[in-house]
Every structure is written in structure tokens, then in C-alpha cells.
């Protein structure tokens, strides 16, 4: 009887898992299969990110969907000998449910995946991104074929408009409308640009799509080219994404070889080709006008809009800029129709959104959920709740432009408008969860650190204003803030928002304003009581000795690095607050619970 492949061992080849040797796992698995003469029965496939990077490297066994986490190259033998040969799952490598501490047999039973609907990520962790044939097998380039052979550009634009798709890069502009405007701009040359700059701290949605399913972006850009009347596409990608760049290059070559990019695509006479452009990784270069200037070789600084890129963009020509995730939704919409897409999500927000879930949460990772999912579902069901059983405090969405939401917002559905109404925004998909140990003033300061660093300096409200905001926050965290500082903080924030040139400055005070709105008490306790209740602001912490408990053993004094503890043997000791550097050593050394933080 002819042998046939009855098992696929999917090994994650995303950046996260590669960093912990997933390529060696793949080699070891292949080796073990060979040793046991199973090359014709089981096959090892490299895929993109499964979204579960923190527990990586991931190996998923098909057809039983067994999901192995934190696999090491040395585990390959056991996987082959136990699972492939004997059908017994390797228990110790299974994911452990954070709540009931039980092993979960397969990915279909993992809370992390159950509420997800994957459109943009549908091929990530499913196909080999370096093999165009696997993309083709999953309807790859069918949407392009359909558009080129059976539709007019106007038809294609109408489908995208009817689907209700809005930009996933942060602004949320209706995609079909943008295409239509660019189509109507008359010019002999136009451009399609894919924004793969992804500068939000901690965000990796776009990287994962590019690494896990590069062809979807190429196909969508070609569709966009046809719709707006462009024959050239450019992908602006940050140079720090080497794996994504490599896979894009491979994908472009493969698409050209099949005649899916280049001249006379699919015999329709339509020409379209794509090139890569590299960014140095400045956050502001993700802003579309700055991005275009950077591609033109000028300084990556934003300029005033209008003119919008759709009218005057790259080299002065009409240019349609869309985000990676926005593009990833295009082929499925063309294939399945606008009604299909519009039926997912809510009345006001269609489809899904990818989020990079991070912070004090059990399941850190990349997720895709339908619009309208609540923050509670994301954090407590998909995310598996707060780490170490701590108490939820806040969730930050929208990155440096967004805001912090609280307990009372947990049940609002995730939509563009509801998040804005709550004082935050959708942004590009960063979602950071905070617990009782996080100080919200420090969180605001952290985002300002980022903004001050990333401001291009072109206009003064952003350049000088954000620096001032940062200084005031610094003063408050040091315990030297006044009530007047709080009102200054608020007023200045509004000035910066109203007078900055680009989106960076216009949104940079949001983390300050939203934390002031939702955590006013914390600002007050820093300013009035000089206390940081979360114990984060070191300057506001005091290590003190509790006289009733101190037996005078001298352990603390001997270990204090700055010798600020005094006291005779068998006498109560004393900490000199002016010299104490709050290192915590004394607390650790005292065996009599005689040191407290107040």
C-alpha cells in the first residue's frame, strides 16, 4: 500500500518563536522522522505566528490539533516517538489552562482561540508563508483573478465600500471611500502604498501578517492598483523586520514567476509590480505624509493635509496608503462578498480587529476578534484573566495615542466610536492590561517618554509642549507636584491637541487626559498625600522600621548599601529617610517583619 502523508507537524516560524530556536526544532523533527522512516507519513511545515508567542516555540500537530507550547529542539524525539508513532500526546508539552491548571488537549479547546474569528490572520499559523502553492490552495490570488477578469474598477470599489471596511492603521478611514477618491484623482501615474511601519510600542500585528501570510498583502495591493488605476506598489517596512522583509521578497519573486505580479497579469493586460522601501523605525514615519516624504528621500516629517496623499502623494502623484491589516481583509471580502463581511461585527463597525494583547494578563499574544467583542471577553476569556490572580485595574488601547480604560468600561463593545467616546481609541491594535500594581501617573509618563522621544520636532506645541507635560509628570511622581500642576497638565494637553500639525501631537496627550479622567484619585494622592498607592513611584515610598517588631538584630544595618540605618545592638533601629535610596534590601533581610513600606 502506498504510504501517504497523514500528519502535518506545524512549527511556528514567526519572529517570536524563531528567537527561541524554532528552526532547530524543525530540523530535529525532520531528522527524527527520517530516523524512524516516517518521511512519507508525516511532514514538517514551517508556518507564521500562532499568536501565542509568549508560550513559544509552538508546534501544532495536524489532524488532531494538538498544541504544544515551549517546545525545545530536544523534545523532537519524544514528539515523534510518542505522538507520531504511538498516537500518545506528550502531556508535559501541552498548554496548561491558567484557571483549572489542567492540560488542554488541542487548540479547539483553548479559551484563547475559542472566541476568535480569523480573517486577516486566517493563514497565519496555517500555511507555509514561503510557499506560494499553499497560499494558492487557500484561494490565493482568486480575488485578484476575479476582479481583473470579471469586474470593473468601480465594481471592486463598490464591494469594498459596501463591506464597511475601515482602515486598521489607526485612523479608521473608510477604505472603499479612500480608493474611490484616489481613483477619481486624474493623473498618468498613481501609486499603491502599504504602510508596514508599525511603530506602536509592543505592537506586532502587521509583522505577523507579513511573516505569516505575505502574499495576501501583495494580492490586495494589486487589487487596489486595479481599482484606483495604478501599476506600481510600494511597501514601506521598517528595517528592524528582517524576517518579514525576507518573506516578502520571496513572495514577490514567487508571484512574479507565476505571472501574478508583473505585466499582463493572468492574461488580462493589467500590469502591476511591487517594491520594498525601508524605514529607519521612527514612529512618526508611520504617519502617511511623513512616510511618503521618507520614501522620496526627504526627512520623514509630516506635512499639512490637504493635500491628501490620494490627491498628491508619492512624487506628487495620487497615492493610496493603506495599512497591512486593512489590505489583509481585501481578498476575503472580494471572494466572499461584502454582505458576508458586513455581517461580522456590529452595525457601526464591520469585520474583525487584530490586537496585540500584552501586560499583566495570562495569555499574552496576538488575537483577532469580531468588532463588538467586549473588553471583558478579550481580557478575561481570550486573555485568560489577570496574572497571578491580581486585580484588574486598567486597559490601554490605541498605543501612545490612546487612553486607559477602567473596570466600568469593560462591557463596552469594541468599536471605533465607542472607544473614542470612552476616552481612548482603536488605534492600530495595541492592548496593554494593567493590574493593581501599576501606577497610572507612571503609565502616562511612560507614554510621554515615548512621544517626546519620537516627536519630529517640526512644530512647537508637540516639541516643547510634550516635554513640558513630561516634566510635570516627573515632578508629580517625585512627590513635588501641586494642584496647580494638575490644572497646567490639563490645559497644556488641550493646547497640544488643538495646535499640533500631525496625528502624533494631536493625540499624544491622550494617555495623560484619560488617566486624569479615570484615575483622578491617584493624581490627588500623589500630589496631596504624597503617596503612590501602587508602590511604583520610588520617591514616594518610605521604608520605615516598626519599633514594636524590631529586636535590634542589626541585619538591616549591615546590609544597607548606603549605611543609612542606625541603631545599637538589641535596640530599635532607625532609617534616615534623606539618605535612603529605597533599594529594598532591608525589607528583604529583616526576619522579624519590622520593616514596612508606607
Amino acid at each position: 500500500m502506498a504510504q501517504q502523508i497523514k500528519m502535518h507537524l506545524l512549527v511556528c516560524g514567526g519572529t517570536g518563536c524563531r528567537a527561541s530556536e524554532s528552526d532547530q526544532i524543525q530540523a530535529s523533527l525532520e531528522h527524527e522522522l527520517k530516523v524512524h522512516g516516517l518521511e512519507n507519513e508525516a511532514k514538517v511545515v514551517t508556518t507564521g505566528c500562532f499568536g501565542f508567542c509568549e508560550k513559544g516555540p509552538i508546534v501544532k500537530v495536524i489532524p488532531d490539533n494538538t498544541f504544544y507550547v515551549q517546545v525545545k529542539p530536544g523534545d523532537a524525539r519524544e514528539i515523534v516517538e510518542e505522538h507520531v508513532i504511538k498516537g500518545r500526546k506528550v502531556e508535559r508539552l501541552l498548554y496548561t489552562d491558567p484557571e483549572n491548571k489542567e492540560h488542554v488537549a488541542d487548540s479547539k479547546h483553548m479559551g484563547f482561540y475559542r472566541k476568535q474569528i480569523r480573517i486577516a490572520l486566517r493563514n497565519c499559523g496555517f500555511i507555509d508563508p514561503e510557499n506560494v502553492d499553499e497560499y494558492l490552495a487557500r484561494d490565493g490570488y482568486q480575488a485578484l483573478g476575479k476582479v481583473l477578469s470579471e469586474m470593473t474598477p468601480e465594481d471592486a470599489i463598490k464591494i469594498i465600500k459596501d463591506s464597511g471596511l475601515r482602515g486598521r492603521g489607526g485612523g479608521g478611514f473608510p477604505t472603499g471611500l479612500k480608493w474611490e477618491i484616489t481613483r477619481k484623482s486624474v493623473a498618468e501615474k498613481k501609486y499603491v502604498v502599504c504602510n508596514a511601519d508599525e511603530g506602536d510600542p509592543g505592537a506586532f500585528m502587521d509583522r505577523s501578517i507579513l511573516e505569516g501570510d505575505p502574499h495576501v498583502v501583495l494580492e490586495a495591493m494589486a487589487i487596489c492598483g486595479f481599482a484606483i488605476g495604478a501599476d506600481a506598489g510600494l511597501i514601506y517596512i521598517r528595517a528592524e523586520y528582517p524576517l518579514a522583509i525576507k518573506r516578502l521578497k520571496i513572495a514577490i519573486d514567487q508571484a512574479r514567476n507565476y505571472g501574478l505580479l508583473g505585466n499582463d497579469i493572468l492574461g488580462t493586460g493589467f500590469n502591476f509590480d511591487i517594491e520594498l522601501r525601508y524605514g529607519a523605525g521612527a514612529f512618526v514615519c508611520g504617519e502617511e505624509t511623513a512616510l511618503i516624504h521618507s520614501m522620496e528621500g526627504s526627512r520623514g516629517e509630516p506635512t499639512f493635509k490637504p493635500p491628501f496623499p490620494s490627491v498628491e502623494g508619492y512624487l506628487g502623484k495620487p497615492t493610496n496608503v493603506n495599512n497591512v491589516e486593512t489590505f489583509a481583509n481585501i481578498p476575503p471580502i472580494i471572494n466572499k462578498g461584502s454582505e458576508w463581511f458586513a455581517a461580522i461585527g456590529t452595525a457601526r463597525a464591520k469585520g474583525t480587529k487584530v490586537f496585540a494583547l500584552a501586560g499583566k494578563i495570562n495569555n499574552v499574544g496576538l488575537i483577532e476578534v469580531p468588532m463588538g467583542t467586549t473588553l471583558r471577553e478579550v481580557i478575561f476569556e481570550i486573555g485568560g484573566g489577570i496574572k497571578d490572580g491580581k486585580k484588574f485595574k486598567a486597559v490601554q488601547t490605541g498605543g501612545p495615542s490612546g487612553g486607559c480604560l477602567t473596570e466600568k468600561h469593560l462591557d463596552i463593545p469594541i468599536e471605533y466610536d465607542t472607544l473614542i467616546a470612552a476616552g481612548s481609541m482603536m488605534g492600530s491594535g495595541g492592548m496593554i492590561v494593567m493590574d493593581e500594581d501599576d501606577c497610572m501617573v507612571s503609565v502616562a509618563k511612560y507614554y510621554l517618554d515615548f512621544t517626546v522621544e519620537e516627536s519630529c520636532g517640526k512644530c512647537s506645541p508637540c516639541r516643547i509642549g510634550n516635554k513640558r507635560l513630561h516634566e510635570i509628570l516627573e515632578t508629580i511622581t517625585k512627590g513635588q507636584g501641586t494642584m496647580e500642576d494638575l490644572s497646567k497638565l490639563k490645559n497644556l494637553s488641550h493646547v497640544i491637541k488643538d495646535t499640533s500639525l500631525c496625528g502624533l501631537g494631536q493625540t499624544s496627550p491622550n494617555p495623560v487626559l484619560s488617566t486624569m479622567e479615570n484615575f483622578w484619585d491617584e493624581y490627588i494622592s500623589h500630589v496631596v498625600d504624597k503617596k503612590c498607592t501602587s508602590g511604583v513611584c520610588k520617591s514616594l515610598m518610605r521604608y520605615v522600621i516598626i519599633p514594636e517588631n524590631c529586636i535590634g538584630c542589626m541585619a538591616c544595618a549591615r546590609n544597607c548599601p548606603v549605611n543609612c540605618i542606625t541603631g545599637e545592638r538589641k535596640q530599635v533601629h532607625f532609617i534616615d529617610q534623606d539618605t535612603c535610596i529605597k533599594c529594598g534590601t532591608c525589607l528583604e533581610k529583616c526576619k522579624f517583619n519590622a520593616i514596612a513600606i508606607i
Partner: protein, 131 residues
Amino acid sequence: MTKIKSLAELKLKKEELEKKLNLREKSNEPDKYIQIKVGMATSGIASGAKVVMDFLIEELNKRGIDAVVTQTGDMGYCYAEPTIEVKRPGEDPIVFGYVDLKKADEIIEKYLKNGELVEGIIPVNYESIDE
């Protein structure tokens, strides 16, 4: 690679390629398909479970029946090896014992195609083998 010159050619190409991904597609939505689990513990392998499994995969494929065939460890019915568990979409799973090639053929033809029960069913009082 030869160029793909039309939408029709692209569609043919897809049909040719999608077979290779079939295994993954089906396991992505296992509940839509017939699911068969073959007991492959040591005793199972010794008693011919592997041959039965290969036979099932091959024949289901040939006879155009979409099914997800997985192997599982000891099913706890060593006396009746090889054992297989069959679950038709929306129905409760059924375990068959002493499955040789002839029995496997009968299960495909009668139970899988027409839902007709065949001999050799082991009464079960649990949901599924590994849950």
C-alpha cells in the same frame, strides 16, 4: 514555475494544490466531518492498528468520503484491539472493536455511507476517547 495565464488556469491550479492542504483544512473544522480515532497504543500497533489506519485513510480518500482520521493512545480495550472510534457530524461517537481490514471496509460502506450499524460495537459510557 510556468506562468498562470488566466483565471481559469488559476482555478485549475487551486484544485490541484488544495488536496495537499486537505488534511489541515479538515482539522480546522473537525466537527463538520466524520472523525475517526484509531487506538494506536503498543497493543494496538501489534494487533494491526497501523495497517487499519493506513487502509482507512487510503480508502476514504479513494471513495470520496471526507473524514479526519487521527490516532490516539490506548483506548482501554486491549482485549478488542484494534479499536476505532467513529463520530459522524452531530452524532455520538461509537467504538468498534476487532477491526481488521474487512471490518474497516464494512464500516466505511455501511456505517459511514448509510449510517447502518455493523457488528462489533463496544458499549461506551463516556463522551469520547481523550476527553
